[in-house]
């Protein structure tokens, strides 16, 4: 069995062993979304106007929450340092890990957002735009939150620090996605912005794994 397939099956088995890792962010997302009408007003016009933005922010938080597990448990078990002895470059393995993370941990979160959209009475066409922006933007977000997780591996009580450190870097993505949603709301052309968002994701997915592997290498070198 090739190393790539081994990593993939291992990830699947880990999910089967710890279903909470996937369920908790979804739970979190739905909980935050349910809080919005309670904190604001059950007025559906108001909700539909801010709903898509709320879902975006909540997804962002949920995404960062589950990125914390990306490397932490493998690092403290000493499995992560074994990656260096496998006959693949570390960058490649990091890239694979980020891809599996996106597939198994981020995609479920995106798939749940229509339900969140329905309960916040977001109009269907906006909801569709929301889904598209999430699918296009999350690769970049996954890479950056992975970097946050990798940078804070070395600190014993990192907790939410990875989130705090990486959040400012999400600004361009959030702004572009919001631009798409605004245009979708008044029915104008969203394609140019989506292309820009996609470009950002592609660039991030190309370069950030290199930085992530450097950060991991650094933290392995410092632990004992």
């Amino acid at each position: 069995m090739s190393l790539e397939r081994r990593m993939f099956t291992r990830e699947l088995k880990l999910i089967a062993a710890r279903p909470g890792d996937i369920l908790k962010p979804i739970w979190f997302l739905m909980l935050v979304i349910s809080m919005v009408p309670l904190a604001l007003a059950p007025d559906s016009d108001l909700l539909s106007e801010i709903g898509s933005a709320m879902i975006w922010v909540a997804t962002l938080l949920a995404l960062l929450l589950n990125a914390e597990h990306l490397f932490q448990s493998d690092f403290s078990d000493g499995v992560l340092e074994q990656w260096l002895f496998l006959d693949r470059p570390l960058v490649w393995l990091v890239g694979l890990k980020l891809i599996t993370h996106w597939l198994f941990h981020v995609l479920p979160l995106i798939l749940i957002t229509p339900i969140a959209g329905i309960i916040l009475s977001v109009p269907t066409d906006v909801l569709l735009a929301l889904l598209v922006t999430l699918v296009i933007a999350t690769p970049a977000l996954t890479c950056f939150s992975g970097l946050g997780a990798a940078l804070t591996l070395g600190s014993s009580r990192s907790g939410i620090l990875g989130v705090l450190v990486m959040m400012p870097l999400f600004v361009p993505v959030v702004i572009l996605a919001a631009g798409v949603l605004i245009r979708a709301m008044d029915g104008s052309d969203t394609l140019p912005l989506l292309a820009l968002l996609g470009a950002f994701s592609v660039v991030a997915a190309t370069f950030v794994p290199i930085v992530v592997s450097a950060a991991i290498r650094l933290n392995i070198g410092g632990s004992n």
Binding site: M1, L3, R6, M7, T9, R10, K13, L14, A17, R18, S73, D74, S76, D77, G78, V79, E81, Q82, L84, F85, L86, D87, I220, G221, N224
Partner: protein, 202 residues
């Protein structure tokens, strides 16, 4: 199987941690078939030396070469088992070993019975005792075909029988032309090894 002849040349290796010099100007050559025990009191830098040779720590000063080429190009030749568990608690014994070694299931089951974990292949690692977990990590010694073994405290939590099994495995590895470096506080009885004392070098 017999390994290609291999040598590790360490020259002028020095390391400082937290402003303390752990070892200074350490030079030695390890050849095929050699078993080296790194000894010394706690904090003498045993783990640091092992991790440096394994390429996990950056070399501060000095060089380590394997068969004349720099260390970083030869990491696949190394099997490193540190004192972290090296296994994932939430996975079964078999799944752990499958991922790390890439061996097939039948071979792994044979290995597991060799290390006294027969019938445990479907157990989660967190259900095992500490010694059994250690056996699971050490089972990789029977699967991976790396000539250089670097084992940090491999004897911890092992019973007498497993210690003997491990000694035998290390001996057969050295006979096949492999190199083994290890640390331990209880000197193993049935093993022929040379010792490097750390902590006395000034």
């Amino acid at each position: 199987m017999i390994f290609e002849p291999i040598d590790i040349e360490i020259s002028d290796l020095s390391c400082e941690r937290d402003d303390r010099s752990l070892f200074k100007n350490l030079s030695m050559t390890l050849n095929s078939g050699q078993i080296l025990r790194v000894a010394g009191p706690n904090g003498a830098g045993k783990t640091t030396l092992l991790r440096t040779i394994a390429g996990l720590f950056d070399i501060q000063t000095g060089t380590i070469r394997m068969n004349q080429s720099p260390l970083t190009e030869c990491l696949q030749q190394i099997l490193y088992i540190g004192h972290k568990p090296q296994v994932t608690k939430d996975l079964t014994v078999l799944d752990n070993l499958k991922f790390l070694t890439g061996s097939d299931e039948d071979h792994l089951k044979r290995v597991l019975s060799d290390v006294g974990l027969k019938g445990y292949h479907d157990s989660l690692v967190k259900e095992l005792s500490q010694g059994q977990g250690r056996r699971c990590a050490l089972a990789r010694l029977w699967c991976v075909e790396a000539p250089i073994w670097i084992l940090d405290e491999p004897y911890t939590a092992l019973d007498v029988e497993m210690v003997k099994t491990l000694d035998a495995r290390i001996t057969s590895h050295a006979t096949a032309g492999g190199i083994c470096l290890f640390t331990t506080h209880q000197p193993p009885q049935s093993l022929n090894y040379t010792t490097l004392e750390l902590g006395h070098v000034t």
